[in-house]
């Protein structure tokens, strides 16, 4: 029920609406629950509403943390010739 994915804003529309698109599928959603939505923002869309804006810097930092968490294991794998 709470499933949602970040989708890019393609066009801002009147009445707090926006057109978003993912892999060629485009949809009109409400942005009434967010402030200052801009073109190109990635918004978390749930049941036709944007609930949050993805922070691209924090996304990069998340991936860096994940790679860091994997480092000891990767080093070990390489040492074993895998």
């Amino acid at each position: 029920m709470c499933l949602a994915i970040p989708i890019r804003v393609e066009e801002l529309l009147p009445d707090d609406m926006a057109r978003v698109s993912l892999s060629g599928v485009s949809k009109i959603v409400s942005i009434a629950l967010l402030e200052d939505v801009r073109l190109g923002d990635y918004l978390l869309i749930h049941v036709g509403y944007a609930l949050a804006r993805l922070d691209p810097d924090e996304a990069e930092r998340t991936l860096a943390m994940m790679r860091e968490a994997a480092v000891p294991a990767l080093v070990e794998m390489e040492a074993c010739g895998l």
Binding site: M1, C2, L3, A4, I5, P6, R8, L22, S23, V29, S30, A32, L33, L34, E35, Y42, L44, H46, V47, G48, Y49, L51, A52, R53, L54, D55, P56, E58, A59, R61, T62, L63, M65, M66, R67, A69, A70, V71, P72, A73, L74, E76, M77
Partner: protein, 381 residues
Amino acid sequence: MKHIDEYRDGKLARSIADTIAAEAVRGRHYQFMEFCGGHTHAISRYGIEDLLPPNVQMVHGPGCPVCVLPMGRIDDAIRLATRPEVTLCTYADLMRVPASAGANLLKAKAAGADIRMVYSTLDAIRIAETEPDREVVFFAIGFETTTPPTAVAIRLARKKRLSNFSVFCNHVLTPPAIRAILDSPDARTVRVDGLVGPAHVSTVTGTKPYVSLTDEFSKPIVVAGFEPLDVVQAILMLVRQINEGRHDVENQYFRLVTAGGNLIAQREMADIFELRPSFEWRGLGELPMSALRLRQAYADLDAERRFSIETIPAADNPACECGDVLRGLKKPAECKLFGTLCSPETPMGSCMVSPEGACAAHWTYGRFRANAKAVAEKAVA
């Protein structure tokens, strides 16, 4: 798909899992509950349990709104939908949830009730506008993620002076359910060393509501996204907290979740809804201050008042173990009905209906892995 595919990298997931195996102390058993059905689904779909060392185990939690809605409320919705003047709008998730006497919304629709599946609350508003002769009722269900969209629709209906629109409100709150899991006084409680905390609920509530829970119960909570790498990373963060003797609220999903959450959404919820003194959850029983209803100021848009709905409690199929599955006490395959009388095509219990339900997740993904594992073990023996 940007911002999705990066978090599904299997090689990276296996490497993080190797770090978990390296850091989990031998001889110590770690048992974590993933609260949300979204996490349950990811764990089953991506086979995350297979990546974890044997001493780190996951228990499925009750965070699936479809699964915890008591049968009596589905009966109410069917009674509403069979009134000739009513058009019931619902999210598709609810269509096959079992009601009393083998009924469900799908069968009621087949029998002629005007039930329509909608994607968004705005679709329900549109139906009310274009069909002024119909009494349009929106069957509202969900946690804090799904509640603000209902609030927006109620505000819009008021603004548009829609007199033929109302909401049958079944919105519930996550912190009371987490409390019920951690605080259960009876012995029939599963041991939980820490929680993988809600993903998209937390985009609305922020991480602050969990602080009092970690303080009170001395168990760590790591808020995590629904992608497989998010879940694996959160499990590593929980293992580290346990090893260091900490019980903090940590946020793995900081690319979308902040401490304070979405203030506009919180304000919308607070303006439109108030706490119910008590509400029944399937599996958890009556929980005080755990659900929402429309405020007096919006009483005219409240379907419960408009149609004088009085919920009659209904007992689940006695053989169905959904209650224990929701509390983490039983695994889906331990239920007698699992895979025999109960499957996603003919669900007996709600946990088999929603793709996030523990039973549906195990049926769709988990059982194949479990079988493959058993065959492999037999071959070794």
